[in-house]
Symmetry: C2
Subunit: 420 residues, 2 copies
């Protein structure tokens, strides 16, 4: 018998208990041992009294109980979760967590403390999709060339609505909040921060690279408007918030931002609240993983699968590498990233505007791939939409800065990266 | 150091050696041990002399060598492979194989012989896609409600061409043979047999069910014609060869056949030679796995990932269940399957035909969902295309038999199942 202490009985915690109860027989057959949710710790015990497990409002009732084999941490947040998980490991208990923020900041310390003890975190990235296992075990023969993930269902839901139904960012945000897909303060989701936490976890498994959210390029979807969608449709693109990790020689680029991506790409077909991750390996080519990235039941499915794996005696190294990798990879400076760009600007409709902007692009050594002009009748203003060939991020930023200074340009020009 | 003996140096075997050589450093870091392809066994040694490993044409040089830790079986076929794998296990060596036919027939005996020794077979289903691991580990918390797989790239390539370009079955088969996607005798692929082997392996992991290819419903794509494609397009369907496993109460249905499936479904978006598997679990909902299902490098990626997992000390039970499952599931009789159907028939264009056929459907208690008529001008013949509501397979077969007897019906009517 394997005895669990569950810290946090919110949506995910309650689902974990429910799965362990409802699928008890099949889980016992698969794990080879009975798995028992022995104690649940929560603040409001009254609320959970029908859950069918012993309740406590004191986490020490789990940590100090030697009969508890495993701690399931589902309270979220960084500091308190870190203390609990660390203490559990030091007490010789294995740990399963769904906490992406904890891992975004402390995964390497925790790996060291765990030192081979069971530590599962499948639920921390893309909810029910077994992407951690796939990357760490299923693709372990490969050098990972790239990971491109739709890791935030809220953003994907909003972008799908904006593109399919022409709804504005503001309108769809309000709707997502009403549906419970978006928080009252949506910054963590729509600003790309949630996705960045998940990206860092995947990047550790693929590249053994230690980085924090502060180290990488993160942009949200707040700036996307109907002109961008018009351009995307015209040229066969979809717009997605992608979390991207790529290796180029001994450099790794990690970034989260909206992209224009060709509609035919499998990852571009992942719509609505669903998550998807495309991984390209040097031998396997592209594989893609799709499913529910959030929600109590889907996330709890991943938590319980981790519990079963530990019960089975799983021995895979937590972050995929048994020893520290010998090939030292380092992060690329965001300014050194090379990609294609889409640029939008609003200008006063006067003679010579296009020629001036074209020559400014040329001066920055940026070559234009396609161009669209969208006039608002009688307003005297027009919107110019460009896409460029591949160039360095630094150059596009300098060009946008120069463009902003031009007398006929209204407001700041904006850009979206294009992913091929 | 882990020493491998590789039996079979064809496309996959050569790729396995190549991966182990090219990705040596990263594999060592991930596995925690150096993995060395020590001996390769092949018939034509001359052909492989530049591979950089010791060669032999005698498999006993592997089996009788106590320094060899693991046997990688890549010769295919059932009987000889079974002998080699069995002998290797009895000698205490772990085994990795890509051999779907071997497992379709002998997986339960091999599990018993292996008795916890390392036995990897990720490459036997869907090439480079880690579907075995995902099902066995990533989704282990769930009762599996259904598996729907595009498991044969040849068929998927052909169907995609037929639908997108209007090419006939005969033409696209010829083209697939020229491209090397289809064998000179294509029956194993286009007849659905290849996919059935893979389905049986997945069904064992999901349901613990022991069945052989002979026990299940297998139909190929040979009968699909332009009328079927016309109907599919008209009603928003795609046509795919699906391998399907579903649990209904204590019955499991296993079947391989072409289906009409709504274009919006994620699995219906898997086109060309690619493979895809959609799995629905009771808590996780739908997850989908996509990638290359064949080819030396993609298949070898799965083989080497298995080797790494065994080197890491993997302890997951081979077929997913640590003990025999207590809930005994049995196969459903194909005649008892319930689904929706599409029916095509060619009739002489005369008064009262439609009413006679409609009443015949009604007599068999089959309710029509939609109907299309396609006349060939001046031929005096017309094609009738129906789709039905859900009914039992038995009833549709009886109805088709009765329809065939009608004087105005030309040849045998045909049907394709509709998957929702």
């Amino acid at each position: 018998m394997l005895k669990l202490g569950i810290v946090g009985l919110g949506t995910v915690g309650s689902s974990v208990v429910k799965i362990l109860q409802e699928n008890k027989e099949i889980i016992r057959a698969r794990a080879g041992v009975e798995i028992v949710p022995a104690i649940g710790v929560a603040r409001n015990l009254e609320k959970h009294k029908n859950l069918g497990i012993v309740l406590s409002d004191n986490v020490d009732d789990i940590l100090e109980d030697e009969s508890i084999d495993m701690v399931v941490e589902l309270i979220g947040g960084v500091d308190r979760a870190y203390e609990i998980v660390k203490k559990a490991l030091l007490k010789g208990k294995s740990v399963v967590t769904a906490n992406k923020a904890l891992l975004a900041y402390h995964r390497y310390e925790l790996q060291e403390i765990a030192n081979g003890q069971g530590f599962g975190f499948e639920a921390s990235v893309a909810g029910g999709i077994p992407i951690i296992r796939s990357l760490r075990e299923g693709l372990s023969a490969n050098k990972i060339l790239s990971i491109k993930g739709i890791l935030n269902g809220t953003c994907n839901y909003m972008l799908t609505k904006m593109i399919d139904e022409g709804v504005s960012f503001g309108e769809v945000l309000k709707e997502a909040q009403e549906l419970g897909y978006a928080e009252a303060d949506p910054t963590f989701d729509v600003g790309g921060f949630d996705a960045s936490h998940k990206l860092l976890i995947l990047a550790s498994i693929a590249y053994g690279i230690d980085a924090k959210p502060e180290d990488i390029l993160i942009e949200g979807i707040e700036g996307i408007n109907s002109d961008d969608i018009f351009f995307a449709k015209e040229f066969g693109y979809n717009i997605k918030l992608l979390a991207i990790a790529k290796q180029n020689n001994d450099k790794v680029e990690l970034r989260v931002h909206p992209v224009l991506i060709k509609k035919e790409q499998m990852i571009a077909k992942v719509d609505g609240v669903m998550n998807g991750v495309s991984v390209i390996g040097d031998f396997v080519g592209e594989t893609l993983y799709y499913g529910a990235g959030a929600g109590g039941d889907a996330t709890a499915s991943a938590v319980v699968s981790d519990i079963i794996s530990i019960a089975r005696g799983e021995s895979t190294p937590m972050l995929g590498f048994k020893k520290l990798s010998t090939n030292e990879l380092s992060l690329i400076e965001p300014d050194m990233i090379e990609t294609e760009y889409y640029v939008r600007m609003s200008v006063i409709d006067e003679v010579g505007v296009l020629s001036k902007i074209s020559s400014l692009f040329a001066k920055h050594d940026i070559s234009i791939d396609s161009f669209l002009q969208k006039s608002s009748k009688n307003s005297g203003k027009t919107t110019l939409l460009f896409s460029t060939h591949k160039c360095q991020e630094k150059r596009i930023k300098e060009a946008l800065k120069s463009i902003k200074e031009l007398s006929f340009v209204q407001g700041a020009p904006s850009m979206i990266r294009i992913e091929d």
